[in-house]
Each structure stands twice: as structure tokens, then as C-alpha cells.
Symmetry: C2
Subunit: 425 residues, 2 copies
């Protein structure tokens, strides 16, 4: 199959007819597949099945002798903070353990900043005329929706393959209205890229117009490798401290895609001043997190080796799904120069760039064939992809057989939409 652009009208019409017949046959199969979200498959959750009977009868004391059943322990158990400190890149004293959602911690950091202000600031963010946050694109729709819901202006910044375009970030961050930047620094959601040392260094050193600028460093995929290679990600807390901006970064992570998606632990790591600030604010909200779930995690994962061994089991389950998507895209789309897709070394997503102007059509075609994809545009602030071409593919949740079907179907819809576009234009 030659590239679409080279096809004469009659050959294009013939291809369109062929793809349409194939698409109708696909619809007849009445599939019901969901690739919308980065959800672990049941088999992945089964890996932590042992946790469902933990910590077990009479096992409720922490190493320090605290009764983990009772109130208190706002910062989290020491053994949990020690266990995850190397993952977060911070001393245990600078780690906070929350309940089951790191998004909730990011939300609360927004709220505390808006209603009470942050260390280094002069007033609560909600008292400013207008504030904005930098949004590397493509990015995570829930990040953008969270900031937007508080009336914070979303400013897109292109990603380069090794993090955001730092010339652009530095230019924009010089504006005092710009209070923060969203970052998913390793296996970025959804581009899969990892920030280079140079990017981390520039984020740490750059001059910001706002003295209380924050880097919201959502290291959601710190442990989530797909291949043998391990990326190098510079330590943002150390880089910022060395640059004289220790309070700039707030690091987030969770075990949602390590142990149990809906019943994991979420973490913050930050400077001592930010940790005090967060805990002071959180103390108004709760007497403490669910420490039994913390104990459950320690009993199950045991140590850093235990965490890595557990992640290997995830890798064995999901790497073939990513390979299946790549195989289908390669087979169906490689000969067409209009389509591009990522081959991530970790994380939960593949980006498929379809023909410009056809992203929404591809999603609609897939939907009509029983395949749910993340809405086109969801990777961009306000859900608006100006080129209407970037799709986020989430291959983890369906079974491998379903992923093969789904990836082939996505590729088919991509081709069909491109044909339609060429014929119309």
C-alpha cells in the first residue's frame, strides 16, 4: 500500500471502498472495548491479591509501636516513608503519605495555595487578579481539568521528546501571573518521554516572575518500565535546592499502578518548609491517613527489592500489550507518512498522531465500532488540540487478545478517516 498522498483519485476511492467494507465487518463484530483510561487490568490487580487479607489479625503495630488502627500519624508511618523515600528521591523526613489518590494530594496543594498561600508567597493565590499554570502538551487531562476548575489559566507548552521546550517555559515563567508548571517527568503521560538532565537543571535554575512558583512534579511512572532500559531522571528536589530554589518543586507519586489502583498509597516529597506547610494545612482537614493500608503495603512489598520484583510482574503482563499495539500500527500505518506513534520505554500510554484534522473522526469511527478511546483533544488544555490529530492509546486494561483487535481497529479507523479527508479535500 502506497502513501495516501500519492494515490490518484480512482485508487483512493478503491482504497476507501476496501477500508469501508473492512470497517463494516468490524462493526458487525459488535465489539465492546475500552482503551480510554490508564487502568490496570484485572490480572495486574491479581498480583496484589495477597494484600486483601493483610495486615491480618493482631498485626496492627508499627515498628515504633504505634497502634495503626487509631487516629493520628498525619505524615505517615516511618517504615512506609523509609520504603518509598528512594523512589521519591527524598529523605524519609521529607516524605508524606496520603490516602489512595495522588490526584487528591495535587488538588489539596492547589487548594491550600489558593486559600492560604505557599511558602515564599505574599498572599493566597486566589487573591491574585489572574493566575496561570504551564501545561506541557500532550499532557494529562485530569491535571488540566483540576487547575481549570479553579479558574487557573492553562498555557500550553510543547514537549520536545526530552521534556518541555525550556526556551518557551523560561519566557512564560517570567510573567508573575504564571504560578506553576505541571510535569510528568518520567514516561510522561501520554508521550512517554523522560525529562533530560538539561531540562531538569533549567527548571530548577530558571528565573520566575512569581517568587512562589511551584513545579508540580507528578512522577506517576517512576517504577513503570516496559523494557530492559532504565531511564535517568535527575532529582528535581536536589537540583532545585542546589539552585537556591528548594521550595519550588512538589513531588507526587502513588502505588495506584503498583499495588491496587483504587486502594493504594499516595505520596508527596518536598522541601522541609513545604512539608511543614502541607502538614499544617492537612492537620485542619484530617486527624490522619489510613495507616492500616500503609501497614498492609509494607507487609506486602517488604523492601525496595520487593517493589522492583513486583513491578517486573506488571511488566510481563503489559509489555506484550504495548508490543501488540506497535505491531498493528507498524503493519497498518508504517507505509503512510501521515501517521506517527510513540514506542515508549515505560508508562501507560502510546501517542498516535493521525492525519491532521481527523482525530475526532477517528475517535467517532472507533466508538461506532464499539471501541472507546479517550476523546480527541483530551491531551491538550481545555480539550482543544488545534491540529486535531493527537490520540492517547491506553493498552493496559483490555486483555492481550482484545488489545490486538483494538489496535488493529484503531489503525483501520485512522486510515479510513484519512481517506475520507483526502477525498473531501
Amino acid at each position: 500500500m502506497s502513501s495516501l498522498a500519492e494515490l490518484r483519485p480512482d485508487a483512493l476511492a478503491a482504497l476507501h471502498g476496501e477500508l469501508t467494507r473492512e470497517y463494516e465487518a468490524l462493526k458487525d463484530r459488535k465489539l465492546s472495548l475500552d482503551m480510554t483510561r490508564g487502568k490496570p487490568a484485572p490480572e495486574q490487580l491479581d498480583l496484589a491479591e495477597g494484600m486483601l487479607a493483610l495486615p491480618g489479625n493482631r498485626d496492627h503495630l508499627s515498628e515504633a509501636g504505634e497502634d495503626t488502627r487509631n487516629y493520628g500519624g498525619l505524615q505517615g508511618l516511618a517504615e512506609v516513608r523509609n520504603l518509598f523515600a528512594p523512589v521519591l528521591g527524598a529523605p524519609a523526613a521529607q516524605v508524606i503519605v496520603g490516602n489512595n489518590s495522588s490526584l487528591a494530594l495535587m488538588h489539596d496543594v492547589h487548594v491550600y495555595a489558593l486559600l492560604r498561600g505557599v511558602p515564599g508567597g505574599t498572599k493566597p493565590w486566589s487573591k491574585e487578579e489572574e493566575i496561570a499554570i504551564l501545561c506541557p502538551v500532550p499532557g494529562y487531562d485530569r491535571h488540566f481539568a483540576l487547575s481549570e476548575s479553579f479558574g487557573i489559566k492553562l498555557i500550553p507548552v510543547p514537549l520536545t521528546g526530552e521534556g518541555p521546550d525550556m526556551d518557551e517555559v523560561e519566557r512564560l515563567a517570567a510573567d508573575p501571573k504564571v504560578k506553576a508548571i505541571w510535569c510528568v517527568p518520567q514516561y510522561s503521560n501520554p508521550s512517554g518521554e523522560t525529562y533530560s538532565d538539561a531540562v531538569v537543571e533549567r527548571l530548577a535554575r530558571m528565573k520566575t516572575g512569581a517568587p512562589d512558583f511551584r513545579i508540580l512534579w507528578d512522577n506517576a511512572y517512576a517504577l513503570h518500565h516496559l523494557g530492559e532500559t532504565r531511564p535517568h531522571l535527575a532529582n528535581i528536589l536536589e537540583a532545585c535546592a542546589a539552585a537556591g530554589n528548594p521550595d519550588r518543586p512538589v513531588v507526587f507519586a502513588s502505588t495506584s499502578k503498583v499495588t491496587i489502583a483504587g486502594a493504594g498509597l499516595a505520596f508527596i516529597a518536598a522541601s522541609p518548609a513545604n512539608v511543614r506547610w502541607y502538614l499544617d494545612n492537612a492537620s485542619k482537614r484530617t486527624i490522619g491517613p489510613d495507616k492500616l493500608n500503609q501497614l498492609r503495603h509494607v507487609r506486602f512489598l517488604r523492601d525496595l527489592d520487593g517493589i522492583h520484583a513486583h513491578m517486573e510482574k506488571h511488566r510481563a503482563l503489559i509489555a506484550p500489550k504495548f508490543a501488540a499495539v506497535e505491531e498493528a500500527f507498524e503493519r497498518r500505518l508504517a507505509s503512510h507518512s501521515f501517521a506517527r506513534w510513540t514506542k515508549p520505554a515505560g508508562g501507560y500510554f502510546i501517542i498516535l498522531d493521525v492525519m491532521a484534522g481527523t482525530g475526532s473522526r477517528v475517535v467517532a469511527l472507533a466508538k461506532a465500532a464499539g471501541l472507546a478511546l479517550t476523546p480527541a483533544g483530551s491531551t491538550h488544555p481545555y480539550g482543544k488540540d488545534p491540529e486535531d490529530r493527537t490520540l492517547r492509546i491506553a493498552p493496559t486494561y483490555p486483555s492481550l487478545a482484545e488489545v490486538k483487535l483494538a489496535a488493529d481497529a484503531v489503525a483501520l479507523c485512522t486510515l479510513l478517516a484519512a481517506c475520507e479527508k483526502r477525498m473531501a479535500g
Copy 2:
């Protein structure tokens, strides 16, 4: 022993000497007792020990077949909402299940109201010049601290023994700046009183200056009886709906003092509009609560009878502690007209009103003798008890033997402080 006021100076001095000797002997015992907070004792937590191995291997599906391990389910599992609906006095469709802290839900209701506004309002509360909340006193220090931390003005309203002084509430609520009232309607923290039908009816019907006025109805002790009697508390959701103010109340509760203090479930019940509002806001914060802990609760408590049977076990453990405090106060203080204390039929606290002007001194004397009490004034907005006399006694956490010791010690300190005061004055 005769009343202090009737004692001549020499008899007063003699009593003071006697009490001082007794107090010195108390100090020599080097006690270390904590009656500061309404914490369950380890024996109470042991009642739910079976939960530590629940839900158990391979038990992770809800009645509807949802995988409770995965993301989602923002409102909570249907079986949990059904189980607690009668406790909350709302249909299951109007119940929301959160994570382990009802205080966190109260916090988030504040935050959503402040940053986005509530149904019936015209703008976010943080956009108002000044707002205030009515605080029945004596009340719960964490309620007051939460509102105060957001710059909301705290206005005290006296409690009457059957709820707040409604003439005063109606007068104050006519001011549009007054946006809400805190209520602990049953076995109130710490006075132990339950709101009468007339009070509930007036709260539901009253004209408020703010069209988006909210009753924050923290029914924390709905199930927490100490005796055989069961109080009647009118249904605030039904009363407000009947009065044409369906969106006025937001009901909170939790299982913190039912199952596991640090790992329970928290609940909201409210009007359909308020439920939609809360869920819409919460959807920006989290993909869903910890549903495995919800399943754990259903497996353990089973049904409403199971809940009540479980609460009977709590009662058997804590009723003797309340009786021990009452016995000590009766024995030591009954002959002194200056002291008054409550004999609650439920809840977690006893109020001891000591001689006016000596509350802080009693707490200091107790502290020096190794007995930690809630700071004097903590039952009042801004921690300021104008009469310096209301102490909150929390008898649940120490063992029965310790409670006997502690109650006797509190009574001794109360008498000693009163003697000092009389001698000085």
C-alpha cells in the same frame, strides 16, 4: 465537706492544705494519662480486629460485579450506601461514601463552597467581603479550627440542653454574611445534648439572609449510646425539604468510632442537588475512594443489626468509664455548688464546669500531675472561653482503672483550683 463559699478563712486554708498534700501525693505517682481526645481504647479497636484480614483473598467484587480494586465508583458502593442510609436518614441515592475521615469531607465542603460556590448561591464564598459561621458552644474544636483557618468568622451561640438557642440563631442567620452553622445534633460534642424536634424544625424553616446558607450537620454519634434509652432526633433532611429548603443541610457521619478510628468510612448525605454538586467537585479531586475498605466494612458489619450489635460491644466497654467519672465527680464535687457536670446518654464526652476563672488552672494542675486534658477554652471559638470554666473530659481511651484515677485527679485539681481562687479573692 461543706460548700467552699461557706467556709471561713481558716477552714478554707485547712482544706487547701489538705488538698495540696493530696495533690503532692498524686504528683508522686508520676501518672501519664491522656484524656485529651475522643479516641477509642485499644479494646474497642479489638472489636473490629476481624477486619484486618478482610475482605480476604479473591473477595473483591461488589454486588453489582464491580472490581472494587480498580479505579472509579466516586459515590461509593451501592451496598455500603444501602447499609448506612438508615443511619444517615437519607435514601441510598443521596449518600456519598468517602475515605477515612468525615472531617476531611467537611473540609472539602468548605473548600468547594469557598472556591466554586454552592447550589443556590450567586458566587464562591471566597469572593464575599466577609463571611461567618455560627458555632454552638460548647462545641468541637476541630470544627471551629477548620472554619477559622479559612478566615471565616466564628460566632458563638449558646446551647440550651436541647440544641442551640434558636432565637439567637434566627437573629444572627438573618445577616447575609452568615453562611452556615455547625451542628453536632445527637450527643453533641462535648455537651452530650440532642437537638429537640422544635430546634430541628426551626433550623429547617428559619429565614436566612444568605440564600445559600448551609447547616453542617455532623451526626458523629448517631449510633453511640451509653444507656438503654434511645434519643429521638428529627430528620434534618426531611425537615428542610418539607420547609422548602432542601439544599440547606449537609449531613456527615463516619465509622471512625464504630469500626476502626483511623481506617473507617466517612459519609455525606444531602439533597440531590447537593450530592451532584459534591460529586462534580470531588471528581476533580479523585477518581474514587478506597472501595476495598468499603467492601471490608460490608463484610464485617453485614447489616443494620450487625452495626447495632457491634455498638453494644462498644457500650459495654465505655459505659463503665463514663460511670466512673460520674462517680468520682459526685463523690468529690457534689457538695460544692460551683461545679457542674453532664451525665450524657451517649457520645464521647463529659462536660465539667469548674469554678469560673479556674479552667486553665485546673488543666495546668492536671498536666503537672501527669494527666493531659483538652486545653481549657478549646470548646469555644478561637479557644476562648470567656468564663474560663468549661472542661471537656474524654474518658474512652484510658483503661477503666486509669479513668477512675484520672477522674479523681481531675476532681482534686478542680477543688484545689477553686480553693486557690477563693483564698486569692
